[in-house]
């Protein structure tokens, strides 16, 4: 514990000395977090400075090994770091699928060369990654994917289409699932491969969402040559890698909505909305019994979920295997987040009908669009139905 206290003191001091003033208190939402990559643009150059100082210190990937640009910290130290960042209301220096998805997967399945090549670039925010799993005909039934990879000497030649590829238009590399053996059982002919998107044959087309934004894309491969050395794990063994990565993706999604990374607001968002739209009664209570109940329920859901996540991490720290509770993280976190947004929208009342322009401020239209975006939470990373199927079958042991 004494070590942890020293670490806390040193970290607090380092953060205060190195975090530019202008970035303190900036909320790191999905859209304005720092995703890095070659196409990154910085409205505030201090965000780039913040990334660079953290990368040099190993704080973009605190628990990754030092030799790959990580911080070499323990889980407990990482928690302290996040707490101290929270105190200064600092945004994470870097976010993205490199840190949360492909990085952990490479740490487990990558060769030494692959780790050296890719992990350091991830920690420095040099390369932005996207995920090429889903296809038009293969969503929940991911293993039925059709994108073909045909061996030609030291290369694979890849053709096919991916869809719903989040931020493919901003990304530099894509980790993809491709079919390398069309004759094998569907899970057994899949290979996990890394593809540089900056080459002929790769085309990306953004898709407009109901929220009016275009975070995801169709991604096309037309005879794209990819070296065999970019295969992760073995050829035709991609399904195991894919599932492991999905595990990371689902914890990332759960973590995002568990609120681990976002700097805490000074005041509850619900209270702010109540002040602005609903009002308070003589006792200072939200002046609408139904909304008050909705808010309390939502806060309790979030809190009880947070406690469950904590129970799971505490057990892991004590050396126990993850228990069945971890299977519910993705579905519960997303459903809670979605309900929370519905409550916020109802609190706004008619002001939540705004889309743009006069009569609404940006906070209002952004909240409405954020609500629309949350409708995808129970779809992305495996739908809620698929998650519930997993709980019913694998955890509860119910028959097929």
């Amino acid at each position: 514990m004494a070590d942890l206290d020293t670490f806390r003191a040193e970290t607090a001091k380092w953060l205060d000395q190195n975090a530019p003033q202008s970035i303190r208190g900036i909320p790191a939402t999905e859209l304005d977090g720092n995703w890095g990559g070659k196409k990154a643009k910085y409205a505030n150059p201090d965000l780039k400075t913040w990334l660079d100082v953290c990368a040099a210190k190993g704080f973009t990937a605190p628990t990754w090994p030092l030799e790959y640009g990580g911080g070499g910290l323990s889980k407990a130290e990482e928690k302290v770091l996040h707490q101290e960042m929270g105190k200064l209301r600092l945004p994470p220096p870097l976010v993205g699928f490199g840190l949360t998805m492909i990085g952990p997967t490479l740490l487990r399945f990558g060769t030494e060369d692959q780790k050296k090549e890719h992990l350091t670039k991830i920690t420095r925010g040099e390369i932005r990654w996207c995920q090429g799993y889903s296809e038009p005909g293969s969503g929940s039934d991911l293993a039925s994917l059709q994108t073909r990879a045909v061996r030609d000497g030291d290369d694979f030649v890849i053709s096919g289409q991916k869809v719903w590829t989040s931020y493919a238009d901003q990304a530099d590399w894509i980790f993809a699932l491709v079919r390398t053996d069309p004759k094998a059982k569907k899970q057994e002919g899949i290979t996990f491969i890394l593809i540089d998107m900056d080459q002929p044959g790769v085309a990306v087309k953004p898709i407009l969402l109901i929220s009016g934004k275009s975070p995801f894309c169709e991604t096309y491969f037309d005879e794209v040559r990819v070296p065999v050395k970019n295969v992760i794990s073995e050829i035709n063994a991609g399904w195991t890698v894919a599932k492991a990565l999905l595990g990371h993706e689902r914890s990332m999604i759960a973590g995002t909505f568990g609120g681990a990374s976002a700097p805490k607001r000074k005041k509850s968002r619900f209270v702010e909305l109540a002040e602005r739209y609903v009002g308070f009664d003589a006792e200072g209570r939200i002046d609408d019994a139904v909304l008050r109940d909705d808010v309390a329920r939502s806060e309790m859901d979030t809190r009880a979920f947070g406690l469950t996540v904590q129970r799971s991490t505490d057990a892991a720290k004590a050396g126990h295997q993850p228990g069945p509770e971890s299977s519910m993280f993705k579905v519960y976190a997303t459903e809670t987040n979605m309900r929370r947004h519905e409550v916020m929208v109802r609190m706004m009342g008619a002001q939540a009908t705004g889309w743009e322009g006069a009569g609404f401020d940006e906070e209002e239209t952004e909240l409405t669009k954020a609500w629309l975006r949350t409708r995808g939470n129970s779809i992305e990373g495996g739908t809620s139905e698929i998650q519930l199927n997993i709980i019913a079958k694998r955890v509860l042991g119910l028959p097929d």
Partner: protein, 374 residues
């Protein structure tokens, strides 16, 4: 009145349905949205609706109406709701028009209601303000006596189709309480700002900065406007619910079609029991919503003393059912449900906007409790 369509009503429903399918596919609403059309609906189509007699359904023949009822109008609104048609029946026939019907003098009706029914003039009701939330008469705008007339000042928000109205029925506080005034859109001191909403329906915020109107601009008696507004909003709420019923029914049909068509794991996704049960539950909610809409629209025509409670029952159910149909629809479509290209998301947006108009389900359950004396 029996909760069954008469032969005449079957015919109205079919005509409306055929007309809307023919003239107003969802793609029309999309095109208006994407071109950022100033009007936001089609004036020629509006004129056609007048010629079909739709705008006159709930008005007496004396003002050019058909002398029919709200149960009949509900059928037209349901048809329009199915395809998200943006024509301003709710704001004009059920808000501005009903205010004129309930409180207007013969002269005022001659001047504004007759051309409304003919499709030549547009009349919006401006009652809500920022602080009103859903209480229709919680207002601060005021009208001061000046000479023979009145001077109005204040702000009105979310005036449905206020961006195109030729005249507004404006509620304002006078010494006797809430009073209503007819204020032409070009009155000096009146400015309007068009709103762009998520459901692409037209609306405007109004600023009244010392707008002078003559004494005969008052609609009804001084201080008696609150009851009129309440009655108008109740009627409009039922009309909105009829439109919502059409929307939720269509959203559900689209979803059912998709469940029968999309395959994953080598089978239609509609074969998964997890989805089947939810579809069955949604079906039940929509059936209950339909019964409520039928009962409430008949209750207006029958002058039912329990009307207010039926209105709240209907709006509470329709709000929840339409939002559920939108949410479940998007979810069951999966990734494509999140895209702008598929229509299901348009229904979700309309569901939410309609939910937040005239009170959400919580507000109406609270009102039900109040009206029930507990």
């Amino acid at each position: 009145m029996a909760l069954v369509l008469t032969e005449d009503q079957e015919l109205i429903a079919k005509t409306a349905r055929d007309f809307v399918d023919e003239e107003s596919p969802v793609s029309r609403m999309r095109a208006l949205r994407d071109s950022r059309d100033e009007t936001g609906f089609s004036r020629p189509l509006w004129k056609q609706m007048a010629e079909l007699g739709w705008l006159g359904i709930p008005f007496p023949e004396a003002v050019g109406g058909a002398g029919m009822g709200h149960a009949d109008l509900a059928l037209v609104l349901e048809a329009l709701g199915r395809n998200l048609a943006p024509e301003p029946i709710l704001s004009n026939v059920l808000m501005g028009g009903q205010a004129l019907l309930l409180a207007g003098s013969e002269g005022q009706q001659e001047e504004w209601l007759v051309p409304l029914v003919n499709g030549d003039k547009l009349v919006s009701l401006a009652y809500a303000e920022r602080a009103s939330r859903y209480a229709p008469n919680k207002i601060e705008a005021k009208a001061d006596k000046s000479g023979d007339g009145w001077t109005l000042s204040g702000e009105k928000v979310h005036v449905l189709d206020g961006h195109v109205a030729d005249v507004f029925v404006v509620s304002a506080l006078t010494p006797g309480g809430v009073s209503l005034f007819l204020v032409p859109a070009d009155a000096s001191g009146l400015s309007r700002e068009r709103l762009v909403r998520m459901d692409s329906r037209g609306a405007a915020n109004l600023t009244l900065d010392g707008v002078a109107v003559p004494a005969d601009a008052m609609l009804g008696e001084e201080g008696q406007g609150a009851a009129v507004v309440e009655q108008v909003i109740d009627r409009a709420t039922v009309g909105l619910c009829a439109e919502m019923l059409g929307g939720m029914t269509r959203a559900f049909e689209l979803t059912l079609d998709y469940l029968k068509e999309r395959e994953q794991f080598g089978v239609k996704i509609g074969s998964f029991q997890g989805l089947q049960h939810r579809a069955a539950e949604l079906f039940m909610e929509i059936e209950l919503a339909r019964s409520a809409v039928m009962a409430a629209s008949r209750a207006i025509d029958d002058d039912d003393p329990d009307l207010a409670r039926l209105v709240s029952l209907t709006k509470a159910r329709c709000s929840d059912a339409y939002v559920l149909a939108g949410n479940e629809g998007v979810q069951m479509f999966g990734g494509v449900g999140m895209t702008d290209e598929y229509d299901i998301g348009l229904y979700l947006k309309r569901a939410r906007a309609a939910e937040l108009t005239f009170g959400d389900s919580g507000w109406h359950r609270d009102r039900w409790a109040r009206l029930s004396g507990y």
